[in-house]
């Protein structure tokens, strides 16, 4: 018997999306600017509701798994979506047409992300991933008369479709050999196998490639800078946080449940991808002149750190068997750094959006003298960048320390050393932006005005970056509950 109460937040998000699409038909042109507030209030209401609804159980015979892990991601996505809707408001008003479809599709991608976090079966996961991706394809190309936006959309669709095909092929390989696509049955089937068949390895590599594309991991990262640059700015922000977090949620559940028992076979691949991702992302960021591209490469670098956590999720002891010695520490670090990256990214993008709305510039030198023209935006931006660089007292320091420390404990000290060096390199390009903000002066010294709602969001994100950095204990308690759900001791009996 299916308990559909579990899906209440998802139903509500879908309902809200349809409601906004329908409302758009009846509104006069000058009323359409209020659609953003409808979306925002709706998302916040759903957020409150999802805090209280029942969240333990299964649906459709285990295709969807609802646990604390699901709940954690659901709330994270809703919070980020609420921020994304608010920061879209002025941009959509001034630069884009058809706000109804914009917010509607944005909410559908939110739905895809939320469902992805609860998928416990490969094909379900695939469908939800497509729900997320298709919405993003449309949104990336939303600036119809902007050539760059169109170029970005075409690149994203072609490469996205290709990676989807890879994932599907990988799923078929795994189903063909194991006879199941459910995560829990997969780990049992794996441990029953006498040896790892080549077909399985192919399937795994294909799935990892597909996920690597969604995460913009090297060598599947080529699309990211172009798409980041071409897409409307709020969509870039949403894309860089939500779609990556969703892919990460899927990867964590897949690796911790599906591939747990044979993790030793796959770990080297993830390590290589993680190492090359952080090296390439951070080195290429050094030479960027455009703020969007800089943030794109810096986000690739951050994906490298997160993949490093993924590689250390299940440690391998000397004789090749798995143990879960510190895996709770690692998975906590992973989620902590993901949350930290999510909020700091949103803050950085919001600052870029504000400047772009008023001055039309998104290159780094366009930020010159911002500390005099708009001190608040400048303060938030520099804090976000320092947080990404991993400097205290911002959340980036605590989360990086936690994650790197945890990975170091899994015997990957050399990889952590590499990550720390890369983090030092990243400091250089973040400081170059800080230099524009505070040291250089601009020829146009006119103040930039910021609307009140934007100020509130800026202040809020700034507060989140500081509070989570100084007092992360409540967040970590929630993360602990989430990771307990997927990294549980009963899997160890299968080893």
């Amino acid at each position: 018997m299916n308990d559909f109460a579990l899906l209440i937040p998802e139903f509500l998000v879908a309902g809200l999306a349809f409601f906004i699409l329908a409302l758009d038909l009846f509104l006069k042109e000058n009323w359409k600017q209020y659609l953003a507030w409808v979306g925002f209030v709706g998302v916040v209401a759903i957020l409150v509701i999802s805090l209280f609804v029942e969240s333990e159980g299964q649906l459709y015979d285990g295709l969807l798994e609802f646990d604390e892990f699901t709940k954690f991601f659901r709330i994270f996505f809703l919070v980020i979506a609420a921020v994304a809707v608010v920061i879209s408001r002025e941009y959509v008003e001034s630069k884009l047409k058809y706000p109804g479809e914009y917010y509607g599709i944005l909410l559908f991608t939110l739905l895809g992300a939320m469902l992805l976090a609860s998928s416990a079966e490969l094909l379900t996961a695939y469908i939800n991933l497509e729900l997320l991706s298709f919405g993003l394809y449309v949104l990336v190309g939303y600036e119809r008369y902007n050539a760059k936006s169109n170029e970005a959309a075409v690149k994203y669709i072609l490469l996205g479709a290709f990676s989807s095909a890879l994932i599907l092929f990988g799923i078929s390989q795994i189903y063909g050999i194991l006879g199941t696509t459910r995560f829990d049955e997969m780990s049992v089937a794996f441990s029953a196998l006498p040896s790892i068949y080549p077909g399985l390895a192919v399937g795994f590599v294909l799935i990892v490639s597909g996920l690597g594309f969604k995460l913009a991991a090297v060598p599947f990262h080529m699309w990211a800078p172009d798409v980041y640059e071409g897409a409307p700015l709020p969509i870039t922000a949403w894309l860089s946080v939500a779609s990556k977090a969703a892919a990460l949620a899927l990867a964590m559940r897949l690796f911790a449940e599906g591939f747990f028992t044979v993790f030793g076979e796959w770990q080297p691949i993830i390590i290589v991808i993680a190492a090359s991702t952080m090296v390439v992302g951070n080195l290429l960021a050094l030479v960027q002149k455009n703020m969007k591209r800089l943030l794109a490469y810096s986000s690739i670098g951050h994906m490298g750190y997160l993949l490093m956590g993924l590689a250390a999720l299940v440690p391998i002891v000397g004789d090749g068997t798995t143990t879960e010695k510190f895996s709770n520490l690692v998975s906590n670090g992973l989620l902590f750094h993901m949350v930290s990256y999510g909020f700091t990214s949103m803050a950085a993008f919001l600052c870029v959006i504000v400047v772009y709305n008023k001055t039309g510039r998104d290159d780094i030198s366009g930020l010159a003298g911002l500390s005099k023209r708009q001190p608040l935006v400048s303060l938030v931006l520099v804090s976000a960048l320092f947080s990404m660089a991993g400097l205290p007292v911002f959340v980036g320091f605590a989360s990086k320390f936690y994650l790197f420390n945890a990975v170091g404990g899994q015997g990957l000290l050399w990889l952590v050393g590499l990550a720390i060096v890369m983090s030092l390199i990243s400091l250089y390009y973040y400081l170059m932006v800080a230099r524009q903000l505070y040291i250089e002066s601009s020829e146009d010294g006119s103040p930039i005005s910021v609307s009140f709602p934007t100020k509130v969001v800026l202040g809020g994100l700034f507060g989140v970056m500081i509070v989570l950095g100084v007092y992360p204990a409540p967040l970590m308690a929630a993360i602990q509950r989430a990771t307990d759900a997927i990294v549980s001791g009963n899997l160890l009996s299968l080893v």
Binding site: N328, L424, A434, A473
Partner: protein, 522 residues
């Protein structure tokens, strides 16, 4: 004053938290003060600095040197750590406390902070932002000196580096040389990146220490108890150099010292005072607090190298200082030279040398703060620091010249001033250790002091005493506010020089337990 002390008596357990929190609170208050309200900004800045200085003095005075050990201790749980040590049982803790070494450094920081605030009174551009960053910097510095937890130690260590880029890049000054310019942006970037590169090494070592200890805590005091059994000699020999070099970079260890003269010259006066006076001491302090305490065997292995590098620092810094024509570069290189004594003193691993090193940290901090303050006063008036242009300043700047002379004489180790006591202890310590090597290096160190005399006396005779050219006839002498700041520093220099025993007793109470941990300590 008595009333204040009574109030403080009641809050002994929170006094360190206040020391940490007040600069932060000051920064937060300033954040909400309108940028135009200069008076308010300055009143807040001075009030906070004064209260913090009083707290620092209180901590030093009421530190019980007969009891030794860690005092004013207070531990707060911060974040639980899951793992094989039992979920939720262990946590990252904010573990506050001071030992004899820490108390001395806290006193130094408090004094330099107050005088630095007084000196930066006339920062005219974005005064509010300047003091916010200045307070963040000092919160970090205090934090390092009073935490006994590796996580927070590292957090505060990084926090004290964070504001440097903006402080130098925005309020600093560019130096023009004949063929090229050292821009402030260049110096700021160099300083920040080199220092963070140092913390890369420290970070790796901290992670290794945490997991090798295997007890799920970052607390230095707890790890110290298991360090004998948990850290094999091989482990210590591999990871001690990471700490030694990582912290050494901040202490100006040769050949990683090049950030220091550039950074100190480009920085605004108060930041030079704090950076050369206090921040460089964080490096030496880190070697003692983390390196020696947690890896005594590794320390023994590597100390001969450190003492040699320290000697190179002394000579190299002094020789470089002789060739400089920029007043601040002379002081910058003299800092490199004097930090060499600190490193040599630590490397002796005996009571005399270590106490001398810590006293030298204190003495050099005060002396360099005075040096940079005076250099700043001269630059404010003449807008040049070129020793080829500055001549015979004593005629119009009598007080400033006296102040510079005091700092200079302290620097070359004249008896009666703090530098003499500290350097004498270091020399004695070095001669006692490492047999022939110690004798040779000790002699070199004494030669270094003689070289210091050469460049300091030459500078004094050229820049201050001598005929005054017409262009410098219309200069003004120091104002009362500057005099107050410098007077505090001068008073401390003489108090340490004439009656060093209260300081040495406190320092020894901190040094002795550390040396007791080291098997081959002499």
């Amino acid at each position: 004053m008595v009333g204040v002390l009574v109030v403080l008596e009641g809050m002994d357990s929170f006094v360190l938290l206040c020391l940490l929190g007040l600069p932060m609170l000051g920064a937060v208050i300033l954040l909400f003060v309108p940028a135009g309200a200069l008076k308010v900004v300055k009143v807040v800045a001075v009030t906070v600095s004064f209260v913090v200085a009083v707290l620092a003095i209180y901590i030093f005075v009421s530190f019980d040197e007969t009891a030794g050990a860690v005092q004013f201790q207070k531990i707060y749980r911060w974040l639980p750590l899951p793992g094989p040590w039992g979920a939720g049982d262990n946590a990252i803790t904010l573990s506050l406390g001071v030992d004899g070494v820490g108390a001395t450094m806290v006193l130094l920081t408090g004094i330099v902070m107050l005088t630095g605030t007084l000196i930066s009174w006339n920062v005219s551009e974005a005064t509010k932002d300047f003091f916010i960053l200045y307070f963040v910097l000092l919160a970090g510095v205090f934090g390092v000196f009073i935490t006994f937890d590796l996580f927070f130690f590292f957090l505060f260590y990084e926090l004290s580096v964070l504001p440097m880029y903006l402080l130098i890049g925005k309020w600093g000054s560019t130096s023009q040389f004949k063929g090229f310019a050292r821009t402030k942006e260049y110096s700021a970037m160099k300083l920040t990146l080199v220092l963070v590169a140092g913390s890369v090494l420290i970070w790796i070592a901290i992670i290794a220490i945490f997991f090798q200890a295997g007890i799920g805590t970052f607390s230095i005091l707890e790890i110290q108890e298991v360090s004998n059994s948990a850290f094999s000699p091989t482990f210590q020999n591999i990871f001690f150099p990471l700490l030694m070099v990582g912290f050494g970079i901040l202490a100006g260890l040769w050949p990683f010292h090049t950030w220091s003269p550039d950074g100190h010259v480009a920085a605004p006066t108060a930041v030079s005072m704090v950076h050369a006076g206090v921040l460089m001491k964080l490096g030496a302090f880190g070697i003692i607090r983390v390196g020696l305490v947690l890896m005594p065997i590794g320390a023994e292995t590597w100390m001969p190298l450190l003492i040699v590098l320290g000697a190179v620092n002394v000579i190299y810094g002094a020789v470089s200082a002789m060739g400089q024509t920029d007043l601040k570069y002379v002081i910058g290189y003299s800092s490199v030279s004097h930090m060499g004594y600190v490193l040599m003193g630590i490397a002796t691993l005996n009571v005399l040398g270590m106490s001398g090193a810590v006293l030298q940290m204190f003495s050099h901090g005060i002396m360099t703060a005075l040096f940079f303050a005076v250099a700043g006063m001269i630059y404010d008036r003449t807008h040049t620091r070129d020793t080829l242009v500055l001549e015979g300043m004593a005629k119009r700047m009598g007080v400033i010249s006296v102040l510079f002379t005091v700092a200079g004489l302290t620097s070359l180790g004249l008896p009666g001033m703090s530098g003499f006591v500290a350097e004498l202890l270091v020399f004695l310590g070095v001669f006692q250790s490492y047999g022939i090597l110690g004798t040779v290096l000790g002699s070199l160190a004494v030669v270094g002091a003689a070289l210091t005399a050469i460049y300091i006396l030459r500078l004094l005779s050229k820049v201050f005493f001598g005929p005054t050219p017409a262009m410098w006839e219309s200069q003004t002498d120091s104002g009362s506010r500057e005099l107050l700041a410098a007077g505090i520093l001068v008073a401390i220099i003489f108090s340490v020089g004439l009656w060093p025993f209260p300081y040495i007793e406190v320092i020894e109470s901190g040094v002795n337990p550390i040396l007791a941990m080291i098997p081959g300590a002499r």
